[in-house]
Amino acid sequence: MAEALGFFTDTTICIGCKACEVACKNWNQLPAAHGGMGEMSGHSYDNTLELNGINWRHVTFVEQFDAPYDGRWLMMSDVCKHCVQAGCLEVCPTGAIIRTEFDTVVIQSDVCNGCRACIPACPFGVIGINDVSNTAQKCTLCYDRLSAGLEPACSKACPTDSIQFGPIVELRERAQRRVAQLHGQGEQRAYLYGADPDGPLGGLNAFYLLVDEPEVYGLPREPKLPSFRIAAASAWSTVTALVVGVLGVVGLRKRRMDEIAAGKADAEEART
């Protein structure tokens, strides 16, 4: 496998310009929502609202104001995390979701049959159905561009380098240095989300520098693989099925056994 590639997103320098969203839409030829009709969400400057089958990049806007001019903006360009242990890849029954030579996770649209198992399996709510292809879709980390030796469209377009692309090992080192720099400047809240290879999901190939709780950015605190419940769920189901089975054998043949017992008793009585 080639070197693992991914994104490091430094949210402290995101300016919410959405160049990444536009570049992604443009390069991947993703359709507009609502057939292109404008629809305002009412959520800050965010009409995209979520990642899904037609929005593979989403700039989250969080307004933290106690009063006018008394607070701060948080902005984060969100994307598929290309998890090292990917829930979507794990549950996909068709083999449509694969891990590439760049350690990224890609959905093959010509294999996907739209069963939608991957959508609830993703702990980050990244995947959705693309109504044009009628299959599940998400960020490919520009697999076609990587194959041609190019940088993904979103990071290429990012004017502040909030989205940085490169080998994951290098990005982690760079991210650690940035956290230390911010701590040195007095921003003690800065920390990395998803950069730890020993952390949840074996680390994320798209990780973030955050300055507030993960939930504030719409990220789960401890994302989990869906399969971590399979052993317990199967064990409980087996035990319950055994109880149902035993009740069935006992209950459904009960009368017969009663009759056999009654017949024996009658025979005994006749003998005496």
Binding site: E50, T94, K224, R255
Partner: protein
């Protein structure tokens, strides 16, 4: 600490990490699939038990059970295919389309294992249905007699019963193996569905055995009714354990879905049928139908509602709002 972080902590935080996920849109075909699948799996199991431990008079119920299993398996497959966004690619569930005809099976993916289980269960249930059709002289073929011979009958009955119980429960495990609210917060949906599946199957066979030209004797319908009552008591226990296992997410039931769970599933679907079984005299003057049949109809209504509320209570949870403006 920001005001929002403080507000989050004051509210006890987000109920679960499952609140950051997207719904699968498993709704109008999947709810009936879960319901029909439970009945089909349970019906085969009951017929197999009666085949081994029953009496000759039980034959009408045994036949109904195998018919219901075969028709239910077929209907389940149809519902699953129609639910796909690309129905013509349904075979991708079983065959690697890029490496045709290599099969694909992921033991750690319930939807993958379930697809194979449906195929195998459908094959066994259809074989048994054909065998009892021939035995009852509804078809004139001779070869199906071998399926009910001393060698094949135990093999098919045991395999089908095990597959049936698996088929009735795997749908619950499938929900638990997601990251969605409620589903991914409990490992007890599989147990809930297997009890409910066999219970609704007993109710279906009770109703079918009590109607038509070929009625089952009262003894077997009594046994089915007794069995169903035990299952309803067990379902009540499992349902309580399921709600406790949800932890803070149990608050999600403070909604229309919770009201339906309480009134429709627990009240109409479990408690009233139990009362009809153990205290039929309470209802005798108010009912035109026999209490056991009324109970069976209510068990079916409760079984359907159980699947509907478990699915819809989760499907209707949107992405957690903290990702937007606050």
């Amino acid at each position: 600490m920001t005001a929002l972080s403080a507000a989050l902590q004051a509210a006890g935080g987000v109920p679960s990490d499952t609140y950051f996920t997207q719904p699968a849109d498993w709704t109008w075909f999947i709810i009936p699939y879960f319901f029909v699948g439970g009945i089909a799996g349970g019906a085969f199991f009951i017929s197999a038990v009666l085949d081994f431990f029953g009496r000759p008079e039980d034959r009408p119920v045994i036949r109904w059970g195998y018919y219901v299993a075969a028709i239910g398996a077929g209907l389940s497959g149809l519902l699953l295919i129609v639910d796909l966004n690309r129905p013509l690619r349904f075979w991708h569930m079983l065959i690697r389309s890029e490496e045709f005809p290599a099969p694909i099976l992921k033991l750690w993916s319930p939807i993958s294992v379930g697809s194979w289980a449906l195929l195998l269960f459908g094959a066994v249930a259809t074989a048994m249905a054909i065998a009892v059709l021939a035995e009852n002289e509804r078809i004139r073929w001779r070869w199906p007699a071998a399926l009910r011979g001393p060698v094949l009958l135990p093999v098919l009955a045991i395999a089908g019963a095990l597959l049936g119980l698996f088929f009735a429960s795997y749908t619950g495990v499938l929900l638990s193996v997601t990251n969605r609210p409620i589903w991914g917060d409990s490992t007890l949906i599989g147990p809930l569905f297997v009890v409910s599946g066999v219970s609704t199957a007993a109710a279906t066979l009770l109703l079918l055995g009590s109607t038509g030209d070929e009625r089952a004797p009262a003894d077997v319908t009594h046994r089915l009714s007794d069995y169903d009552s035990w299952l309803l008591l067990l379902e009540l226990v499992v349902l309580a354990a399921f709600l406790v296992s949800l932890g803070p997410v149990v608050a999600r039931w403070l909604s229309l879905w919770g009201a339906l769970l309480l009134v429709g599933v627990v009240g109409l679907g479990i408690l009233v049928p139990l009362a009809l079984h153990y205290r039929p005299e309470w209802f005798r003057d108010r009912l035109t139908a026999p209490p056991a049949l009324t109970a069976a109809v209510l068990v079916l209504v409760g079984g359907f509602l159980l699947r509907a509320v478990v699915i819809l209570a989760s499907e209707t949870v949107e992405l957690f709002p903290f990702s937007g403006s606050m």
